[in-house]
């Protein structure tokens, strides 16, 4: 019973640590209007933290990410649309700041990868299908007799 409780507590602790908590832990950072704050969070979650590079600015505790979050909220309060905020960031940090790369000449291959993968898989399946020979013909009467003789079956 005791061991069970310790195990459960441990599991709870580990799963709590694994929760992807947003880094905005400081309530003073958040906008008063929940609608605007929700928009800021959705824009922020699409912006790359440029220091950590694989986190969004909403997830990161880096100093620059904190300032970028503040900047996003500034723009949104000033009346910018989500797209305008995004464009404002891209004008300064390039497309790298987007966590979801846009479709353009240099990213065509990236976006086409799923289709290309499917195509390659389909080709492999098509060509390997032909390699399977037809199933062997059923045994003739003479062969069946020989088989019985060898296995001693009735």
């Amino acid at each position: 019973m005791k061991r069970w409780a310790v195990g459960a507590a441990g599991a709870l602790l580990i799963s709590a640590a694994a929760l992807p908590a947003l880094a905005v832990s400081d309530p003073s950072e958040m906008l008063k209007d929940p609608k605007l704050e929700a928009r800021a969070e959705s824009v922020g979650s699409q912006l790359r933290c440029l220091v950590c590079q694989n986190e969004s600015i909403e997830d990161s505790n880096a100093d620059l990410a904190k300032d970028l979050r503040a900047k996003v909220r500034q723009r949104i309060v000033a009346g910018d649309t989500d797209k305008q905020v995004m464009d404002w960031m891209v004008a300064r940090y390039g497309n790298f700041v987007r966590l979801r790369p846009p479709l353009m000449a240099s990213t065509v291959l990236l976006w086409a990868t799923p289709v290309l993968g499917l195509l390659a898989g389909g080709l492999i399946a098509f060509f390997s299908r032909r390699r399977f020979a037809a199933p062997p013909a059923p045994l003739s009467v003479a062969e069946q007799a020989r088989l019985r003789e060898l296995t001693g079956a009735p």
Partner: protein
């Protein structure tokens, strides 16, 4: 299956692997001679006018604005250097900045969220190459410039256009291979 088609099918993956290998080798080759840097952060402001900003005073610096920078650059191109007293690579590039300033290149410093005391200590210890110096107290100005972190340097030409940018410390190589040609091009 005909002879030629069978061969083509067998050779296709080999050809693909060969092409990929060649491209990879070419990339490594370009990296080794400094023509390609996968970690380079290309600032989209290169080729664009300097953004509007205003900096607070810090230590020996009185701060400056975008208008000050544009007016000075109209006389002579300016190297804008983002740094901080707590930044170790900034100490590493201090000698290079010092010798560039000694050659007569105006260098304007932007401290990132720094404090007067430590900034003064840094300048006393590593030398002060800055013709003008200001502090980005809020961290807003560096975002306007698309700066990732310190150190970063920008070259501003006579028309107030950013002509060259480096994210990271200046090195002898980056000065001789990139900054000097850029300076020559706008001289």
């Amino acid at each position: 299956m005909s002879f030629s088609r069978r061969h083509a099918l067998m050779l296709a993956p080999l050809g693909l692997a060969g092409a990929a290998g060649f491209a990879f080798w070419k990339m490594l080759d370009r990296m080794s001679v400094g023509k390609f840097d996968p970690h380079a952060l290309n600032n989209p402001l290169v080729g664009k006018p300097v953004p509007d900003f205003a900096l607070s005073p810090i230590g020996p610096g009185k701060g400056f604005t975008a208008a000050d920078l544009r007016a000075a650059a109209a006389q002579k191109p300016v190297l804008v250097n983002f740094w901080a007293s707590y930044c170790i690579p900034c100490a590493g590039e201090a000698d290079i900045l010092g010798s560039l300033a000694g050659e007569g290149l105006p260098i304007w410093g932007v401290a990132w969220k720094d404090k007067a005391g430590p900034a003064q200590q840094f300048l006393d210890r590593y030398g002060n190459p800055y013709a003008r110096l200001g502090n980005d107290v809020s961290g807003n100005v560096i975002i306007d410039w698309g700066v990732y972190g310190v150190p970063e340097s920008f070259l501003v030409d006579r028309n107030g256009i950013i002509r060259w940018h480096l994210a990271g410390p200046l090195t002898d190589d980056s000065v001789s291979q990139d900054l000097r040609p850029a300076l020559k091009a706008i001289a």
